[in-house]
């Protein structure tokens, strides 16, 4: 959605416009409030939260909750803070995004430029895998990971995320490559370029935008995943989301809300940052996910 405000033919009266602005601002408030409140309260000492109300500004600003969330909060057995789990997530996300994007690129290339009989059905099969409820694969996946010794390991999680990301990445690249004229490939074939050469020299150089979209989308989804992390990781390899949930849901001791919030924001920061910097591509990714034929 790189388009700027388009000139619509609709005109609205002054009163209606005022009401429209009011409505829009009200909802902006609705969207900002929970997160804003979290940020605010992550900078308060605990007694202020308990005694005060959530919209009140901190009387004594402190970043101690953040430090605690990062390095000393009790998440698992040891009070290590969220830091190690942050790195776990990174260790999972980077390879998973890379591999699934690469596979998606090749698949999209094949599906659009090297058509063969039955490829639509195969593509449909891949597409459907985007929509399955992951509950249906939990049991067998747990068994397989156990049998191959990958259970609870980072490698196992990377494997899982790659498999269930292939459907999406293929969809993105396939829709993008569909728009590249087939005559380019024909000309390259006559010129003597082979399958891989055409990919490296002609398709890849113009794939910039979709690679960004794909990476952003995969990064967001895999970083934010909880189900696979909760099911297939053990204490050492848990990703950030699982650790956060553990931190926040622990029922023992005093609930240190400020630490919880700081932790939640730390967990949210990478994807939010990506969104802020490359929001345009993020939106494109949402749009590109529609299965346009």
């Amino acid at each position: 959605m790189a388009s700027i405000t388009q000139d619509t033919a609709i005109n609205t009266g002054r009163v209606s416009r005022a009401l429209i602005y009011l409505f829009l601002l009200l909802f902006a408030f609705y969207y900002l409030l929970p997160f804003g409140v979290m940020v605010l309260n992550s900078l308060k000492p605990l007694d202020e939260i308990l005694s005060g109300n959530m919209i009140a500004l901190p009387t004594s600003w402190t970043i101690e909750p953040w430090l605690k969330a990062w390095s000393t909060a009790q998440v698992g057995i040891e009070p290590t803070g969220l830091a190690p789990y942050f790195w776990n997530s990174i260790k999972i996300v980077v390879p998973a995004v890379t591999i699934s994007t690469l596979l998606g690129a090749f698949n999209g290339y094949v599906f659009t430029k090297w058509r063969f009989k039955g490829d639509t059905i195969l593509f449909g099969l891949m597409l459907f895998s985007c929509f399955i409820p992951f509950q249906i694969v939990l049991i067998p996946m747990a068994r397989i990971l156990g049998m191959t010794g990958l259970a609870g390991s980072t490698g196992g999680l990377i494997f899982v995320h790659v498999i269930y990301g292939i459907g999406f990445t293929t969809l993105y690249f396939r829709n993008y490559y569909k728009a590249i004229p087939n005559e380019l490939v024909m000309a390259a074939q006559i010129d003597g370029a082979g399958f891989f050469q055409i990919f490296y020299r002609i398709m890849l150089p113009v794939s910039g935008p979709i690679i960004v979209v794909c990476v952003i989308w995969q990064f967001t989804n895999i970083w934010n995943d909880f189900l696979f992390g909760a099911s297939f990781a053990d204490f050492d390899s848990q990703p950030m989301t699982v650790a956060l949930n553990n931190l926040v849901s622990s029922s023992t001791g005093v609930k240190e809300y400020n630490v919880h919030f700081a932790g939640a924001i730390i967990a949210a920061l990478p994807t939010l940052l990506v969104y802020v910097i490359a929001g345009r591509y993020f939106v494109r990714g949402l749009m590109a996910g529609s299965v346009k034929g």
Binding site: P181, E183, L184, M186, A187, A188, Q189, I190, D191, G192, A193, Q197, R201, I202, P205, V206
Partner: protein
């Protein structure tokens, strides 16, 4: 040895046959144009020569070497596409040399080749630009350069001028013709524009519905069309075709046609007694046929061809006049149909009034209404 030999070639997609028994023998240095309406199969045939599509039956050979199943890059052909298909991320120089690079030509040779070709096409100043920075005409030249630099046995063109505006199209047409003369290359050229076909080709294959309707030189195609399709497809404005009846008059054969909108009839002589015996026409005496005569063969009496053997004069009512600057097109009714005549620009004709039309019967052709083939 035929340079490009297309023998009994057919193409089917499943049960649907799109090309039937195509036979064309192309000599070296020929400029063959495949022309026809959309869907006639010309682009499919071109793709098969290139190797981009497979042949379902028949054989194709270049320089005596059988090409069935041979990969496009191994056929020593080059192709210019309608959309030019320039690689968007490469410069013009890289675009042109890409094919050479893929075939393992060393860098120094590639640079030299690019220089030669870009000089020939006058695109030297553009070498470092990307395709998006070029105009349509420039892209066209780069596409041609890419094809030229490979020194292929056969050049294939797939409607290369369709995306250009009218003036540029005419200019580029001349350029292509000049190049052909200069290089003497063998060219197969696909277009739906019959003027391109006429002006560029040494031979034309007129195609329709997957069949070759006629294969011949431009003159043959134009003067002696094999059937009604070819007659009406080639030539602009198209040939007038209207009903007539073959009649004997003395030893000569002629046609009887209705004139104007009424029931008037007129007899026009077709051939003299001398030639009559050799002609098929005597099988059609008193039968209905279709007479074909091109607009330029119907003129005002003063503008008629002095060397013509048989000129028949017909008085008729003018329906519409279309002054076109260099000529005046005059529409009247013959054989119950609208007929276009091409008169000199200063001919005195007015709509609704009578005029004398001179029909050059040497140039007339007769068609069998049932088979749509020409009767000779």
């Amino acid at each position: 040895m035929t340079f490009l030999d297309i023998k009994d070639v057919s193409k089917s997609y499943g049960k649907v046959t799109v090309l039937h028994d195509i036979n064309i023998a192309v000599d070296e240095g020929e400029f063959l144009v495949l022309v026809g309406p959309s869907g006639c199969g010309k682009s499919t045939l071109l793709n098969m020569i290139a190797g981009l599509e497979e042949i379902t039956a028949g054989s194709m050979a270049i320089k005596g070497r059988e090409m069935n199943g041979v990969h496009p890059s191994k056929r020593n052909i080059a192709m210019v596409f309608q959309s030019y298909a320039l690689y968007p991320n490469m410069t013009v120089a890289e675009n042109i040399s890409f094919g050479l690079e893929m075939h393992g030509v060393p860098k120094a040779e590639r640079l030299a080749a690019v220089r030669d070709v870009s000089g020939m096409l006058q695109i030297e100043p553009l070498l470092e630009r990307k395709p998006s920075q070029l105009s349509g005409g420039q892209r066209q030249r780069v596409a041609m350069g890419r094809a030229l630099v490979r020194n292929p046995d056969v050049f294939l063109f797939d409607e290369p001028l369709s995306n250009l505006d009218a003036k540029l199209r005419v200019d580029m047409r001349t350029e292509i013709k000049k190049l052909h003369h200069k290089l003497g290359s063998t060219i197969v050229y696909v277009t739906h524009d019959q003027i391109e076909a006429m002006t560029l080709s040494t031979r034309i294959a007129v195609m329709n519905g997957g069949h070759i309707q006629q294969l011949g030189t431009p003159k043959e195609i134009y003067d002696n069309p094999a059937n009604m399709f070819v007659a009406s497809f080639m030539g602009s404005p198209s040939m007038n075709i209207f009903p007539a009846t073959i009649r004997e008059k003395g030893s000569a054969l002629g046609v009887e046609i209705s004139v104007g909108l009424g029931a008037d009839k007129k007899h026009l002589k077709l051939i003299d007694g001398g030639k009559r015996a050799k002609s098929e026409l005597h099988n059609f005496i008193n039968k209905d046929v279709l007479l074909g005569i091109r607009p330029e063969a119907i003129t005002d009496p003063d503008g008629a061809d002095r060397n013509a053997q048989i000129i028949e004069l017909v008085e008729n009512v003018v329906d519409v006049t279309e002054p076109a600057g260099s000529d005046t097109y005059v529409v009247s009714h013959l054989g119950g149909q609208e007929v276009v005549a091409r008169m000199r620009a200063d001919a005195v004709v007015k709509p609704g009034e009578g005029a004398v039309f001179a029909l050059n019967m040497d140039r007339a052709v007769v068609f069998d209404p049932k088979t749509e083939q020409r009767i000779d």
